[in-house]
């Protein structure tokens, strides 16, 4: 067990290091931050001086090692654009992204499962067929288009919801939340639908097909034969057994909700880490880009690590195989 854990953790660290190395080797192609940082009236001497100060004249491997040296001490450097520590900026922006991701995830799971069950039970009804056809939109339309369409419908034409931003927020310790104000809640609606729509349709289609599968099983027929009510059969027996694969997929999708938030945040000017990352690319703000990419990869690697370890503890065959192999 311990050997397995150590091996997996070591692999994860290796993946992180490689991601960082690839990221740093790419930064050169994003452009040169110097011209953004100096005004129109800069001289070549100013350019050279700043380049040396920032260490941009060194090979990217050296820059990377320096970044790692700071990162392990929790110091991600100072943003070129804002002139403030990157860790402060990320802490400011993280609540916006996490709240958006949480609401999107909640919507995706609750509506996705609900509609999935409905379309499975009423598989030939007109309502179910309409929902199935509409769900194709969620799968096929790109996020930014859905976002713009929602803005034009609900903000510009109907004027019900704000077109951008996060509304008023309330500060609780180091966290800012939009859950406690009316404008904050209103501002959450459109972006969370935009962000969660893909996952919602995915979960719905998954639940539906699993449910159809389960409904054919003998124990469901037996339950019906026992005279149990439809509700008990559908929800207590059938749904429960469809959830295992759904939970696996949802867990893996959680990471991509946070990572895909970049597009939604750009469309809605949502002040989260995704928007921060886009702005950082435009400005070639290397410390911010590096910190963001590392955090996202830590998140993905972490989720995968947990999943691996869970499988290991759940599935005894895995353990048996390993002891035989060695």
């Amino acid at each position: 067990m311990l050997a397995f854990v150590i091996q997996r953790v070591a692999q994860s660290v290796l993946v992180l290091l490689v991601v960082g190395l690839v990221a740093f080797s790419m930064f050169r192609f994003v452009g040169d931050p110097i011209d953004n940082m100096l005004g129109q009236e800069r001289t070549q001497a100013d350019i050279d001086r700043l380049r040396t100060t920032l260490g941009l004249d060194q090979p990217f491997v050296v820059q990377y090692v320096k970044f790692l040296g700071g990162a392990v001490q929790g110091n991600f450097g100072v943003s070129y654009r804002q002139g403030r520590p990157v860790s402060d900026i990320l802490m400011e922006r993280a609540p916006a992204t996490l709240e958006l991701a949480a609401v999107s995830g909640f919507l995706a799971i609750s509506i996705g499962i609900g509609l999935g069950v409905f379309t499975a039970i009423r598989r030939d009804g007109w309502a179910a067929n309409t929902i199935m056809s509409l769900s194709l939109i969620g799968v096929s339309l790109p996020t930014f288009l859905i976002g713009i369409l929602l803005i034009y419908l609900f903000s510009v034409e109907l004027g019900w919801l704000p077109s951008f931003g996060r509304g008023d927020t309330v500060r609780i310790g180091g966290w800012t939340t939009g859950f406690l104000t009316e404008s904050g809640l209103k501002a959450l609606i459109l972006p969370s639908i935009t962000l969660g729509l893909y996952q919602m349709t995915l979960i719905m289609r998954l639940v539906r097909s699993e449910m159809l599968e389960v409904l054919r099983q003998d124990y469901i027929r037996f339950a019906r034969a026992r005279g149990l009510r439809d509700r008990a059969v559908n929800f207590r027996h059938a749904l429960k057994n469809t959830l295992v694969p759904v939970i696996t997929v949802t867990g893996l999708q959680l990471g991509s909700i946070i990572a895909f938030a970049i597009i939604t945040e750009t469309v809605f000017q949502w002040p989260g880490v995704g928007l921060l990352f886009i702005n950082a690319i435009q400005f070639v703000d290397i410390p911010v880009m590096a910190a963001y990419l590392m955090l996202i990869s830590v998140m993905f690697v972490g989720i995968n690590l947990i999943v691996d370890l869970l499988y290991f503890s759940i599935d005894p065959r895995l353990r048996a195989d390993r002891t035989k192999a060695h």
């Binding site: 192609f29 994003v30 452009g31 040169d32 931050p33 011209d35 953004n36 940082m37 100096l38 005004g39 129109q40 009236e41 800069r42 001289t43 070549q44 001497a45 100060t53 920032l54 100072v78 654009r81 804002q82 002139g83 403030r84 900026i89 400011e92 713009i148 803005i151 034009y152 903000s155 510009v156 004027g159 704000p162 077109s163 951008f164 931003g165 008023d168 927020t169 309330v170 500060r171 609780i172 310790g173 104000t181 404008s183 750009t266 469309v267 809605f268 000017q269 002040p271 928007l275 921060l276 886009i278 702005n279 435009q282 400005f283 070639v284």
Partner: protein, 520 residues
């Protein structure tokens, strides 16, 4: 513990108010320090908070601000400023000559991005508490114009908060906090998110606006900004995308305010290069070194057609490095080379390129309005006369390093004169590059003309306006004859407001809250 948490809950939800004003710009001012970054988003925004000795009025004219008057000292040895009395900073402390001295030291320090404004200054002297003398190395007629954005900081405040020098790398107190003398004070600053301003009750001048609270939110996505304006979530957006202009004009709820910006869009050439870099067949020489080839480029481009189609009638063609309305514009030389493909072909034949030649054309795709489309049109028009350009458009972050490395045969450049004077582009674009004298720092092609170099210092120190204009005209004529650059047009400035907003647009693209009125 729980009790403490509740105590920390801070509700920041101000009630909707009559004369509240919200606006969005593409770029958030990256700092609140007026000496740390010399750029339009920063200085334009901070002009509402901080003030200089002088300021520009609605028509860009220099008028008194923290100085009530100024006069030259002797035969152009410098300028004497009389300071306004009774001016208060936002924290209540008094403004006087020590703050001017301190702001000079701060803004001209090596850490400041504004130090080039003070290159002609030899020293600053405090005569008494409300009189300051700024001495210049040579007579300098436009010195007062050139310090219009030099903003005054309170020396006591800066010292108390350990911000006596700007810190661009790590930031300091002045990066996030302000203490100016201007009409508005910053009450909340969340970088990249929102910046809230409220009127300063103790302002020395009479307020002409009716704003009780103003909020700036940067919106990067143009479609989102337009939607925010249409839905009334913001009162003003800058800029309006050109392609949305017509649609917004049709909408009775919004107004479109159009003008021309100070920025001139032009084509640059490799004057010094021995050979072309990206030619398929012309490997051994540089055709652009021949003035006739450069003139042919000028005649081959149909600027009115570009303005009509790509800019949708929103820009103005220009014949020189500054647009009309700038100080020192040469009114007698306002004609661009006529669009004449026969003349262009004849010039090319004369230069020995009757079959034309191929070359590489570098262009930005995110810096100027519709820059890539303009470059595509230029490429097509040049092909008509046999100049076969291969267009390479890229983001501006990759663009400047390419130009600095001389990786181009022709390039696109936009130039906005920081001083709104014709001397500015001559210094940066036409003077022979000289690192030590800080000349020609954006003259990528290395254009060099002895007479221009000779005239530049004379222009810089000539007090007599007529003589100065004569020399500026001479430089403009030389640059036109030599076709040093092919100037195309002055970029438009397109702002969008809700119909109940009145404001003033200036060609420097600075937005002043003090000229905003919100009709109820």
């Amino acid at each position: 513990m729980r009790r403490h948490l509740f105590a920390a809950v801070l509700l920041c939800a101000p009630a909707a108010h009559a004369a509240e004003f919200t606006w969005s710009e593409t770029t958030d001012p990256q700092t609140m320090d007026p000496h740390a970054v010399n750029s339009t988003p920063v200085l334009g925004f901070l002009g509402n908070v901080y003030e200089g000795l002088v300021r520009r009025d609605e028509d860009m004219k220099i008028v008194p601000a923290l100085a009530t008057g100024w006069e030259p000292i002797g035969e152009g040895e410098g300028w004497r400023f009389s300071l306004r009395q009774g001016v208060k900073f936002h924290d209540g402390s008094d403004f006087d000559a020590t703050d001017v001295l301190f702001s000079y030291e701060r803004a001209s320090s090596e850490q400041a991005d504004t130090s080039s404004w003070f290159a002609p200054v030899s020293g600053v002297r405090m005569v008494d508490n409300y009189t300051v003398e700024i001495m210049t190395n040579a007579p300098n007629p436009i010195f007062v114009d050139s310090i219009a954005n030099w903003m005054m900081l309170d020396s006591g405040w800066a010292k108390a908060n350990d911000a006596t020098r700007p810190d661009k790398d790590a930031g300091n107190y002045a990066t996030l906090n302000t203490n100016g003398t201007g009409p508005f004070r910053v009450t909340r600053r969340e970088p990249g998110l929102r910046t809230v301003l409220e009127p300063f009750d103790g302002w020395w001048d009479d307020a002409t606006h009716n704003i009780t609270r103003a909020e700036l939110t940067p919106i990067q996505n143009p479609a989102t900004a337009v939607a925010a304006l249409l839905s009334g979530d913001v009162d003003f957006i800058n800029p309006v995308p050109i392609q949305d202009t017509e649609r917004l004009k049709q909408n009775p709820d919004v107004n479109v305010i159009q003008g021309i910006e100070a920025r001139v869009i032009m084509l640059g050439f490799p004057h010094e290069a021995a050979t072309l870099k990206y030619s398929a067949e012309t490997m051994d020489k540089n055709p652009f070194a021949d003035v006739r080839v450069r003139q042919a480029v000028g005649h081959a481009i149909n600027v009115p057609a570009i303005l009509q189609t790509i800019m949708r009638g929103n820009a103005q063609e220009v014949s020189q490095l500054v647009g009309p309305g700038m100080r020192g514009y040469s009114t007698g030389l306002a004609e661009r080379p006529a669009y004449d493909t026969d003349r262009a072909r004849a010039l090319l034949a004369e230069a020995g390129y009757s079959d034309g030649f191929s070359f590489g054309f570098k262009c930005t795709n995110d810096r100027y309005l519709n820059d890539e489309s303009v470059c595509q049109a230029v490429t097509g028009m040049l092909a008509q006369v046999g100049l076969r350009a291969t267009l390479d458009a890229m983001p501006v972050q990759n663009y400047w390093p390419e130009l600095r490395a001389d990786n181009y045969d022709m390039y696109l450049l936009g130039w906005s004169p920081g001083t709104f004077d014709a001397e500015h582009p001559i210094r940066f674009l036409a003077a022979t590059p000289n690192e030590e004298k800080k000349l020609g720092s954006w003259n990528f092609g290395g254009y060099s003309n002895a007479r221009v170099d000779e005239l530049l210092p004379m222009i810089q120190s000539e007090i007599d306006d007529t003589k100065r204009q004569g020399m500026l005209d001479e430089v403009t004529a030389i640059l036109q004859d030599q076709a040093a650059y092919t100037t195309l047009y002055v970029q438009p400035l397109i702002w969008g407001t809700r119909a109940n907003i009145e404001l003033t647009q200036r060609p420097d693209n600075f937005f002043n809250l003090r000229w905003v009125t919100v009709d109820q």
